[in-house]
């Protein structure tokens, strides 16, 4: 019982493995065992969203999964967004709109937004605000984040999204 288990999974297209005790969380496995520290650890109870990653194409909290539950999974972390030196379109928009200050929440914001936009081709600004409330930011005040995600959704789906009055 509680014997270390071998976990083999795919992270950003690369097959990786490690041995872990059953109780190790997926976040800690990614960061401390695989060295993928782009995924951040915040509240550890699913509220803050900093640890959000893509598991088999769907955004999920990596702090609420055990590493042993991810055996065979295809995982994408923030390290997998950029192609070499070329930033992902959403990362470019975050930069343009100054959608980050300290950057702690940013990995979770990016992974959440990629999934939100991919899973709904008829998002309104309100849908984006509600969707992005899945991740807490304690410094930017969200304006830049929402602007970046709206523009990203417009790029991906090729149609404009009506802006509410309070957004310039």
């Amino acid at each position: 019982m509680n014997e270390p288990r071998k976990v083999v999974l795919e992270v950003n297209g690369e097959s990786l493995s490690g041995e872990v005790p059953p109780r190790m969380l997926l976040t800690d496995f990614l960061r401390d065992v695989l060295g993928k520290t782009g995924t951040h650890v915040g509240c550890e109870h699913g509220v803050c969203g900093a640890c959000t990653i893509m598991i088999n194409g769907e955004a999920a909290r990596s702090c609420l999964m055990f590493a042993v539950q991810a055996v065979g999974a295809k995982i994408k972390t923030v390290e997998g967004l950029a192609k070499g030196e070329e930033l992902h379109p959403l990362q470019k928009l975050f930069s343009e709109h100054r959608a980050l200050q300290c950057g702690f929440c940013t990995p979770g914001m990016l992974m959440t937004a990629v999934d939100l936009v991919a899973s709904n081709d008829a998002l309104s600004e309100l849908d984006i605000k509600v969707g992005m409330s899945a991740v807490l930011c304690r410094c930017t005040g969200y304006e830049g984040i929402i602007k970046a995600v709206i523009e990203y959704a417009e790029q991906v789906h090729g149609k404009p999204i009506a802006r509410e009055k309070n957004i310039v």
Binding site: P4, D32, H45, R61, C63, V68
Partner: protein
């Protein structure tokens, strides 16, 4: 314990050996691949084991060590528990079906709009990617959305153990705060959801501090009509007390007096009088009671507006 060795392992990272940095208590995770295997494991380990569904409520409790089971029986590798099936006048949903699957199901969209709207109020999409309908119902959180829908629509719950299978009506399922009729050796395997009848409208309305938070007060409503008068009114509230509550007095007023302004006001007042909410750091009991009246009014009006026959 064997040192942890990973391909990207950096010796300069602190606390990477022997699991010193792990948060949950010492436990083992067993991964059955069939319902039968899960049931025999649960019978074997009894109270030392907890079934692990989506983990969106249980894993936080483990991370804070508020729950210390010796064994988790992980139900996530049992494909037979993950389905949404059209079964005539009802929809059968496997207990391990993700909330996300319910959210994007055409069948649920067309035939169980109340369940769909409640689902969209559960936390956020990344939580719904993992959270399951069976996990949420079996957890029986008094502020959770699904138990209110289950009471309003009269879901049937299918529970299995090595002793066999039984069906539990929703009004018998929720017993107390975080407590259901499930026995320690039972697993909730299927939820049976009645389809919405013709000439009906449904709405789930809640008020929370922030979108995605548990409701301070929420109301599920589904009303059927004939000749512009209600022929069936089904309402239930969450955030209403130790368990979700069917609002029978409210239903009776709508059935007897209709959906005019005066009747709706009386129905909302009856809902506020019926609930027995708790005070906590989010809101006082009296504020929650008042909110119940407000969300009842909104839910009734939305449900009426959505019934095509009333247009």
């Amino acid at each position: 314990m064997t040192p942890i060795i990973g391909s990207g392992f950096d010796k300069n990272l602190k606390q990477t050996t022997s699991g010193r940095n792990v948060k949950p208590p010492q436990l083992d995770i067993l991964t059955p691949s069939s319902i039968a295997e899960a049931l025999s494991l649960l019978a074997e380990y009894g109270a030392d084991a907890r079934p692990l569904a989506g983990g969106q409520s249980l894993v936080p409790l483990l991370n804070f060590r508020l729950s210390r089971p010796e064994v988790l029986i992980d139900l996530n590798q049992i494909p037979d528990l993950d389905y949404i099936r059209d079964a005539g006048d009802q929809i059968n949903i496997g207990a391990m079906t993700r909330e996300r699957s319910i959210e994007f199901s055409d069948l649920i969209h067309d035939e169980a709009p109340l369940l769909l709207e409640a689902t969209k109020n559960i936390a956020h999409l990344p939580i719904r990617s993992r959270g399951t309908i069976g996990g949420s119902l079996a957890n029986a959180d008094p502020a959770a959305e699904y138990p209110a829908v289950a009471l309003a629509l009269e879901f049937t719950f299918v529970a299995q153990s090595v002793r066999g299978e039984r069906r539990i009506a929703s009004h018998n399922f929720f017993q107390d705060i975080l407590t259901t009729a499930l026995e320690p050796d039972e697993i909730l395997t299927e939820i049976i959801v009645p389809k919405i009848p013709d000439n009906s409208g449904a709405a789930f309305v809640e008020i929370a501090r922030r979108h995605g938070d548990f409701a301070l007060s929420g109301v599920a409503a589904q009303i059927s009509f004939e000749d512009r008068m209600p022929t069936a009114a089904r309402l239930a509230a969450c955030g209403a007390g130790p368990i979700a509550m069917r609002l029978t007095a409210t239903e009776e007023i709508l059935m007897e007096e209709g959906i005019g302004e005066k009747a709706v006001k009386a129905a909302a007042a009856a809902a506020a009088a019926a609930v027995d909410p708790m005070s906590d750091h989010h809101a006082s009991a009296s504020y929650r009671r008042r909110l119940t009246g407000v969300v009842t009014t909104r839910a009734i009006k939305k449900a009426v507006d959505r019934a095509e026959v009333m247009a």
